[in-house]
């Protein structure tokens, strides 16, 4: 099994307050901690589990700054074999299509069976980079994958749909799978493993190295314009309905009817 796993270095916004910079389109990240995107962490684990079961080779691909190397080394400590980090400010990072093009450039021309990505990035929440990547690579894809079975020349993917539905699909390889959280239990990368992973190859490349015309993945090529970021206002307060069950039901029904909600 020859695999690629695409990962993203993202800020943890669960603790620190999110503040939009005066430019209106970027966020002040000085007080955030950064780590691997949650879903991508599961993708890394899944690639290593497949490698352990079927033998193979995993290459990490990421677009990000030098300080994200620690995340890449952690993935290699867990069992990934080598990595490519694309560092180039000219990529329109807010557009999943442009991101997918850059990632595809790092993969194209090499043989592969599977490409795994997280199903969603926790910072921009687009949920589309993996799917766009499959399109760029011209291969099959399945998104929101909760279980993977590798068969002969095929892969059976269990997809998590809305309303608790599970869809099982079979795809011819090569394919891209976007991995949903909870598919496995990501392991810990011990420091001694991270130190050993220093010996594995981590290639840092620019768009030029990949032979990509910067104009084709920059903001000019992008059809997405980031106009404004803002913190949504709290729109209304909760109302507690008091009384006996019947009374409560009646009040609730009248609120729904008045509000035109039913």
């Amino acid at each position: 099994m020859k695999m690629f796993v695409c990962i993203k270095y993202v800020p943890d916004t669960s603790e620190a307050e999110v503040k939009v910079n005066p430019d209106g389109v970027t966020v002040d990240s000085s007080r955030f901690s950064f780590d691997i995107n949650d879903a991508d962490n599961y993708a890394v684990e899944e690639s290593v589990l497949i490698k352990e079961a079927k033998e193979g080779d995993v290459t990490v691909v990421s677009i990000g700054p030098k300080k994200s190397d620690v995340m890449i080394r952690m993935a290699m400590a867990k069992g990934c074999d080598q990595a490519v980090r694309i560092e180039d400010d000219r990529i329109a990072g807010h557009d999943p299509l442009m991101v997918a093009k850059a990632l595809a450039a790092a993969i194209k021309g090499q043989e592969f069976d599977l490409v795994l990505t997280g199903c969603m990035a926790s910072d921009d929440g687009h949920m589309s980079t993996g799917v766009a990547l499959a399109e760029e690579l011209g291969v099959n894809h399945a998104s929101m994958v909760k279980k993977v079975e590798v068969l002969d020349g095929k892969v059976r993917a269990h997809r998590e749909l809305e309303g608790g539905l599970l869809e099982v699909v079979e795809l011819e390889l090569p394919a891209v799978l976007t991995i949903q959280t909870g598919i496995n239990e990501p392991r810990y990368a011990p420091i001694r493993g991270i130190r050993q992973a220093q010996k594995k190859e981590l290639k840092v490349v620019s768009l030029d190295d990949l032979g990509v015309d910067p104009a084709s993945v920059g903001s000019d090529a992008s059809m997405v314009v980031l106009e404004e970021l803002y913190i949504p206002e709290v729109e209304s307060s909760a109302e507690f309905i008091e009384g006996e069950a019947e009374e409560k039901a009646e009040k609730l029904a009248s609120i729904l009817v008045k509000g035109g909600l039913v």
């Binding site: 943890d12 620190a16 901690s33 392991r187 011990p190 420091i191």
Partner: protein, 378 residues
């Protein structure tokens, strides 16, 4: 196994064991869990058994209270055999998610609480705190502790001492956001590689400050710096030791009156492991109006609260009464109004036990610095 070439038998001096069983006899968690530490000391002699031993759930029940080490007549540290087995699990990567996240957070952010490094000094907000500068000599360099810096419940330990230091005129300074986990819990969780890295990095960082003493607010940092950082230049003390000096120099001015009965709980890392028993009692005794009582199990026999040994991140499977609950019941029987402690972990575990027993109306768990904040002029 660890990458070191030493065998378990050599590393932990297993052949020194005379199988007297004093370790297990003194181990506080035996009343709740299936842990028999003597058995591990015995079985770990067989290299081929190590994998099997490492998979036993009870290796995670040890709270690293060190009672076994204190009691061993041969000077062994039986608990370290358990920690060595934990290392094997850690290095396989297959650990509880809570443990994984705590350790990873230490590596990435310098604290086990998954908080951003940039927020480490937020506890100082609104206070006039002297910040240390490399190369500028300082008498007392303070080390706050990850838990005190980030946990809103125990932040007041650091905040209250600042007021007191400013008032008394002692030469002191605190570290800024560069303060990084001492590794106490990293060590007891068995992440040897990460602990070695912390010792290296922290020694370098702390030695840059020309400090005479490193004053730790938590007994866990205190004991760790004192016993596991061989190249640290500064003398390591606990804050209660500094405050007793100030008391003797007449620099603590008492105010108010606390007409309460206090029982002091010796934290394992302050008492058993570092022999600081009297200073906390001296401070408490001097609070105007206080009546002190003692637990039957006090000083070196003090009962562990189960907050150490990485237990903050490992859920106990046992349904039996928590040791912290036993402790609170004992305090209740002594008719104590306040259970005073000198450790942030003890505050969290004992207070939790007090609440689950429903005693919060009539009883209070307080860190010494919380009480001093109320009864010493600042």
């Amino acid at each position: 196994m660890s990458t070191e070439s030493q065998t378990f038998t050599e590393k932990y001096d297993l052949l020194g064991c005379i199988q007297c069983g004093r370790c297990t006899g003194g181990c506080p968690v035996t009343v709740r869990a299936d842990l028999n530490v003597r058995r591990f000391v015995y079985d770990a002699y067989y290299e081929e058994k190590l994998d099997e031993l490492a998979r036993l759930a009870e290796i995670w029940d040890c709270t690293a209270c060190h009672t076994c080490a204190v009691r061993c007549p041969k000077g062994l540290k039986p608990l370290e055999v358990l920690l060595g087995l934990r290392t094997m699990i850690i290095e396989s990567g297959k650990v509880e998610p809570t443990v994984r996240d705590a350790l990873q957070s230490v590596l990435l952010e310098g604290n086990p609480w998954e908080k951003s490094r940039a927020a480490r000094s937020d506890w100082m907000e609104g206070l006039d705190v002297k910040i240390a500068e490399p190369g500028v000599p300082v008498e007392n360099l303070f080390f706050v502790c990850c838990t005190i810096a980030y946990d809103p419940r125990v932040k007041s330990i650091a905040r209250n001492i600042v007021g007191l230091l400013n008032k008394s005129g002692v030469d002191y300074a605190f570290l800024d956001e560069s303060e990084t986990c001492c590794g106490s819990e990293v060590f007891t969780l068995g992440e040897e590689g990460l602990f070695e890295m912390l010792v290296e990095d922290n020694t370098e960082l702390l030695n840059e400050y020309t400090a005479k003493r490193l004053v730790c607010l938590s007994p866990h940092c205190f004991t760790t710096y004192k016993t596991r950082y061989p190249d640290l230049k500064a003398e390591v003390i606990h804050y209660t030791q500094l405050l007793v000096e100030l008391l003797e120099e007449g620099k603590l001015n008492w105010k108010g009156d606390l007409q309460k009965t206090i029982v002091y709980h010796d934290p394992c890392y302050l008492g058993k492991q570092s022999n600081v028993y009297d200073e906390p009692r001296t401070l408490l005794k001097n609070i105007p109006g206080v009546k002190m009582v003692e637990f039957e199990r006090s000083r070196e026999r003090s009962l562990c609260c189960e907050g150490g040994g990485g237990k903050m991140w490992v859920e106990s499977e046992s349904k039996k009464e928590r040791l912290a609950e036993t402790r609170i019941k004992d305090a209740k029987a002594l008719e104590a109004d306040i259970v005073a402690v000198a450790c942030p972990f003890c505050v969290l575990t004992l207070e939790d036990a007090m609440k689950s027993l429903g005693y919060e109306e009539e009883m209070r768990v307080a860190e010494i610095m919380e009480l001093l904040g109320e009864f010493v002029e600042a």
